[in-house]
Symmetry: C2
Subunit: 395 residues, 2 copies
């Protein structure tokens, strides 16, 4: 009954699916109070209070038809306008509602982007390690994923490696900053070097290469630095954003795509995105569009994540773990203590800790810790991480 292709997807998806069961496994082994789950990136910091206020206000003031009717495919114009104005002010660029399309989260946006750009066999370059679902979005749109390494140990963009991977079939370079799983924020310098190379290669090969930037963690930056605004550096940029993290609304499926005016075939790109949004039905839900519009200037308690990340980084490096200091997002990317990261994940479970093996991100030999957890989970886990370290490396 089920297609061969889907059977393969089910198999390939098992490491991701296992994400959702690791905690249950540990709880049944050790009870609910001595388990440290760092596996899933499900925000633990609540949405700001303004979200609830907005929901209640909208429900009280508007009619049912205003609240729940189909919205235009691209989203409500007034919501897109508010977002454009917010980003225009924040980034100092020219934007109107015509540059914004609302989507069902960043994943809905990325699916729509890939459907818009890719013909069968077109190539999309991603930098490893990367969020595993990118492969699904690209293949689902008929494209081929080309995986390029980042700089050893720092996970920064290796522009030469990206350049080497570009062919006449390259349609897009897909980056993610702040990065899941490494926590790296690409600097303006490295993005400029990437952009310059892309301009040169596009010109040399006579092709258009899109730079697709997946930025659900844009507002989770801890070093005081902003995440560089890519359309300033490269014309053919498409930004995919989500409110899942900044407003802690992952269950509500709400985000947006930005296409700047300088994009090649701008109007066809936007028509393609609208067509994809309609046919995938990754429209943004109606009520929550109004809510993010009300809350566009708000954010969840990002400082909570900052403290979590700093504590976890300091304590783990003190023990002896090697990891990248997280600049953004809510992940710590740590070198596994044995070569086989799946094996290491099992060893961690024996010590009450749920982690995600780096192989799930094409980063074998590492593991990812999601630090969107209670601070007590961080502090409580440290003795267990210590025991795990001692167990493997000796005291």
């Amino acid at each position: 009954m089920v297609s061969e292709r889907m059977k393969q997807s089910i198999e390939r998806g098992k490491p991701m699916a296992a994400l959702f069961t690791a905690k249950d496994r540990l709880v049944s082994r050790f009870g609910p109070d001595d388990v440290y789950d760092f596996s899933i990136g499900n925000p633990n910091v609540p949405a700001p209070a303004t979200v609830k206020e907005s929901i209640i206000k909208q429900a009280k003031e508007l009619t049912e038809l205003e609240l729940h009717s189909y919205t235009p495919v691209e989203g409500y114009p007034f919501v897109r306008k508010a977002i454009a104005e917010h980003d225009r002010e924040k980034f100092g660029v020219d934007l109107t509602e015509k540059n914004i399309l609302m989507t069902a989260g960043a994943a809905g946006g990325l699916n729509a982007v890939m459907m818009t750009l890719l013909d069968e066999g077109d190539e999309v370059i991603v930098l490893k390690p990367f969020f595993g679902e990118y492969a699904v979005y690209v293949e689902h749109a008929g494209g081929e994923l080309v995986v390029v390494p980042t700089e050893e140990g720092t996970f920064r963009i290796d522009v030469k490696e990206v350049e080497r991977a570009i062919t006449r079939r390259t349609k897009a370079v897909l980056i993610n900053t702040p990065n899941n799983p490494t926590g790296v924020i690409y600097s303006e310098d490295e993005l400029r070097a990437l952009a310059d190379m892309l301009y040169k290669k596009s010109n040399d090969l006579g092709i258009d290469i899109a730079l697709v930037s997946d930025e659900p963690y844009r507002d989770l930056a801890y070093g005081g630095q902003d995440v560089p605004y890519l359309p300033k550096l490269y014309d053919n940029t498409i930004i995919v954003y989500s409110f899942s993290k900044s407003l802690s609304l992952p269950g509500e499926r709400i985000g947006y795509i930005t296409v700047s005016d300088s994009m090649t075939e701008r109007d066809v790109v936007k028509a393609g995105l609208a067509t994809a949004i309609r046919s995938l039905f990754v429209n943004a839900p109606s009520l929550i569009q109004r809510v993010v519009c009300d809350c566009i200037d708000d954010e969840c308690d990002v400082a909570y994540y900052k403290r979590n990340g700093e504590t976890l980084y300091e304590e783990l490096t003190k023990i002896g773990y090697e990891c990248v200091k997280p600049e953004g997002a809510f992940y710590l990317w740590v070198k596994a203590l044995v070569d086989d990261d799946f094996e290491f994940a099992k060893m961690a479970e024996d010590h009450h800790i749920a982690i995600l093996p780096g192989s799930a991100f094409s980063g074998p030999g590492y593991f990812r810790l999601s630090f969107c957890v209670a601070y007590e989970t961080i502090t409580g886990s440290i003795p267990h991480f210590k025991e795990l370290y001692d167990d493997v490396c000796g005291k």
Copy 2:
């Protein structure tokens, strides 16, 4: 920049895209008060009051994390349980939460079903006329659409025609009852005849054929008859449902898939659907899952649509139009007065009326009227329909 495939989709989608502009075109020609828009199926009957009450109650009583966190891929277990219990009682079948997967509307569900069932080149049979987006869902999953005629004039299932279209590559027959655009509800007898033929052909060819039933209009039935519950007639049935119409929540993207226990490879089908839901990110939004759970026994004012449909049918047939008496959904399927239905749509616009040409549903020579409009739009439009008729056919 944009793929050739998407450029073709944009072209093909133009009749659908035109849906969203017909009313604006007429308003700019004739002013806002003398325009009769029957083009779009956007429910005009408000959601029941319990929806708003539920939203406010949930927002007041639950924490932000309870309201807005990622839900399980298949949806909240308690929501799926409430739906299973509701349908179990209503249809007298054995269902639990394990048979139910929440999705972003019926369209999200259909996309997930096609991704689960289809390998490249697999065939899906649809009965014309049909909702045009079916072609997108099928092709998007790599399948091929096989279009089969219904019975001339009555638009009932022609089981012999369906049988003739079945090959070894047939993976699914996709039906829609109550039907968009014809308003027909397939009877238990004709569905049983279809099911018996499918059993026989599956057996003869040694293949599994799924019967996928798209039922967003299930609760909009006007003749007093229920919409037959297909899993009772055919084991390999997948039902795709949406709350868009029954609760008037089209903007909120909420529906569900039912897979019955008797389905071949049931557990793999469900794993495939969950994988598709995750990778397409057609998850049902979180808050609205709780809301439909609260409102599972409620419905919008279906009697309003019934009166609209009856009035429109009676008045148009009195004038001389030939149409199918709508048994369900909120569409009237009418024979165009000239052969070219696109040409006829233009003529209707000259008479202040926005319609949808039947060709958008692979039903040339007909047109569709959505009667989910104010009753005053129905009554106000009649003189215009009369003038249009007289204009074309003479007094």
